[in-house]
Symmetry: C2
Subunit: 425 residues, 2 copies
């Protein structure tokens, strides 16, 4: 197995030494953060396995798909519609961006004052340690924040087949028309890449497949409302993270299997944390694998995370795509309708997000909100101040955190988080 | 005079104490930086007068215009078309954003990691020290960078009559159509504000008036090509800064008067710096009044600044609006054509800017480029790295500077600038 993997990684052009170092760190972090948890649902075994093979078996599967003529499309954002990718007989994978790597090299191409997520995506490329990126036949960038849109200009010199999607900044009819144009253009690009013409049938099936993934995650989210919480925030976050990597149908089955188990736990009033443990909603920037820093701090401080208002979380999975369309046009319109609702902070103004945070606080029975901001992520950091103010006016306690992927501030964060949790008791 | 001013400032709701402190600092800085220069063109007297009365007589003029029924529109960006404002019988003024003020209050509303320009615009509002802002009947924001577009969401709670203009992020036909829609919407808003319907005649006259300002600045830019340089970069920057405040026709006359004098100086081979002094092009972020930090450092280090590739400079003034249209539609199209060429770093990709920098290096006979980046200004800081690389590949020396409005780093900057200038000799 390991020998096969090494050969595969070598073929992909990975830097074996750096990659081994990365996997060692990842493996140790997973051990310390995930496997040290008590009372985990048994069905999390599947996700433990996925994580142990995230650069192994899953990559082999993707390479097998490629051998069979299927294409792999990599993405950095929830605005890239998986429905279109699947309908064109391609596979969508999220690209590595949750850990610092090759920082010194990265800072030759990007300002130091760039958010950790963007730096990480460059680091994984420059360090040659992301098998997903190296397997991808097309990499999709998107004009979301200034940091990403300008970074893609430099990334285009590092990554062959970088495709950049434009996005609107407001929620107007003209903005929606831009999204439609861009999704039509992306559909044509996906068809060109795969040589497969999307049909009404393939698109309908793709919509169903992606909706099934989302529905499974909705079921999981809904079960997290129970007190005691039947699953940790760390484990639920992991499911949301694996959403971006795994085979869609298998993912759906696996999440539903966890949900079956959680339903039994709820009936038995069993949980991973004591009843009445303070309940936290995390809101803000995405937390990509292996960025488990904040939930680890929170859940080793006596509170449980009951929801993620985040791209890796409900912002990414909230809405279903309407399945009732019969023509390609109707279904493409439905896809546009669905994604245009995403309340990313790149939109101005973005009042829906505040509404959704409050809805989630109620739905998850959260006692407080931790706003997770990546340092130098202007859209979310800017938005966090009015969000905090609005929440506190409604007597919802809010803690604004600004951090990166380093471990230097863990002690300080833990102190702040503990004080916040104490206030919720 | 001072009594009249104090009454006026009080009526405008300014904080007299803070405002006096600001004017004292401004006056002293002007004395130290501007009036200490040797061999200035005599016609700069006008600009010295303008600066001494920038919160005095000019505000009185604006208030007189208001009494006569004219409206004042304030702007933070060169994407707000002065042609439309003038045609609607209103006056456009740039809003204060070149100095730190009320920072502690600002950082309750904006993240600390926000660029100085944006923080400054909030500081002048919160500190109640900007008579332009307080005189304005409409304040125009625009969706340029993430920092500004998200900041306007908060500014809308501080400033009545905030109008926000959307902007595209790419240079495509659809993007241009968005700019057209937004300029049509702005035209309607200006007409609504003033009660004046823009006619073909008023629009044509407005285009001519604004083009005349730009043509005068082009003439000034062209004269800066001479060696020895007939005018300092500081003085030329001041003219570019006053471009945003002054009565347009009077500004044009005044700049042309300087140019007449500079032509004589050139004929006499007279300059403000010795012949063969190293010549610098400054490129990057705007330098708003009273942000004279970098040119002061450069020009007290033995070099002369011969051009500004900046919003307060050629990026703002480069192109004329075609005057040949006869209908409102033709002229509005010409306005869209003109502004759509602005090569702001918010666009992705933005290759025109690099071309323009290189054109300016040639035209100004610059020996090197200093890239001026405001700390936390993601678009320009991101772009500065490939710009520097491209320039150095063409053997154009480039120094990338990242700074803010504070004086803390002046010593360090001066050391770096001196070393850079030494390399150009």
């Amino acid at each position: 197995m390991t020998e096969n993997c090494r050969a595969m990684w070598t073929d992909l052009g990975l830097d074996l030494e750096g990659h081994t170092a990365l996997l060692d760190v990842l493996g140790k972090a997973y051990q310390d953060i995930y496997l040290s948890q008590k009372n985990r649902p048994e069905a999390m075994d599947y996700f433990d396995f996925v994580m142990s093979e995230i650069h192994g078996l899953r990559i082999m599967e993707l390479l097998d798909e490629k051998k069979a003529g299927r294409k792999i499309i990599g993405s950095y954002c929830v605005f890239v519609p998986e429905e279109i990718v699947l309908a064109a007989n391609a596979t969508l994978v999220g690209l590595c961006s949750g850990a610092d790597f090759a920082t010194e090299e990265v800072e030759k191409l990007l300002p130091r004052n760039t958010c950790a997520l963007i730096k990480s995506s460059f680091g994984f490329k420059l360090g040659k340690v992301c098998p997903y990126l190296e397997s991808a036949d097309m990499v999709v960038g998107e004009n979301t924040c200034d940091g990403k849109k300008k970074a893609y200009e430099s990334l285009s010199h590092l990554v062959k087949n970088l495709y950049v999607m434009d996005l609107p900044q407001v929620k107007s009819e003209q903005a929606k028309a831009l999204l439609k144009t861009e999704y039509d253009r992306f559909k044509a690009a996906a068809e060109h890449l795969t040589g497969v013409t999307i049909t009404a049938e393939s698109l309908k099936q793709a919509i169903r497949t992606v909706n099934a993934k989302r529905t499974a995650i909705h079921r999981l989210s809904s079960l997290r409302k129970a007190d005691p919480a039947p699953i940790s925030g760390l484990d639920a976050l992991l499911a949301n993270q694996v959403f971006f990597y795994d085979n869609p149908a298998r993912f759906t089955t696996s999440v539903n299997k966890i949900c079956d188990e959680l339903e039994k736990r709820i009936a038995d009033k069993k949980g991973v944390f004591p009843e009445k443990a303070p309940r936290i909603l995390v809101s803000g920037c995405p937390q990509a694998v292996p960025n488990w820093k904040l939930p680890f701090i929170v859940e080793t401080s006596g509170a449980v995370i009951v929801g993620e208002e985040s791209c890796v979380g409900e912002r990414g999975t909230r809405n279903l795509t309407d399945e009732s369309g019969e023509t390609i046009k109707e279904m493409m319109d439905a896809i546009v309708d669905r994604y245009f609702q995403v309340d990313c902070a790149i939109f101005t103004p973005n009042p829906d997000r505040l509404d959704h945070i409050q809805e989630m606080v109620t739905a998850c029975k959260a006692d407080g909100v931790i706003h997770y901001g990546l340092q130098f992520c202007q859209p979310y950091l800017m938005e966090s101040i009015p969000v905090e103010k609005a929440l506190e006016e409604k007597n919802i306690p809010c803690l604004r955190i600004e951090t990166d992927y380093s471990m230097e501030d863990v002690g300080q964060l833990k102190t702040r988080v503990e004080a916040f949790i104490e206030q919720l008791r």
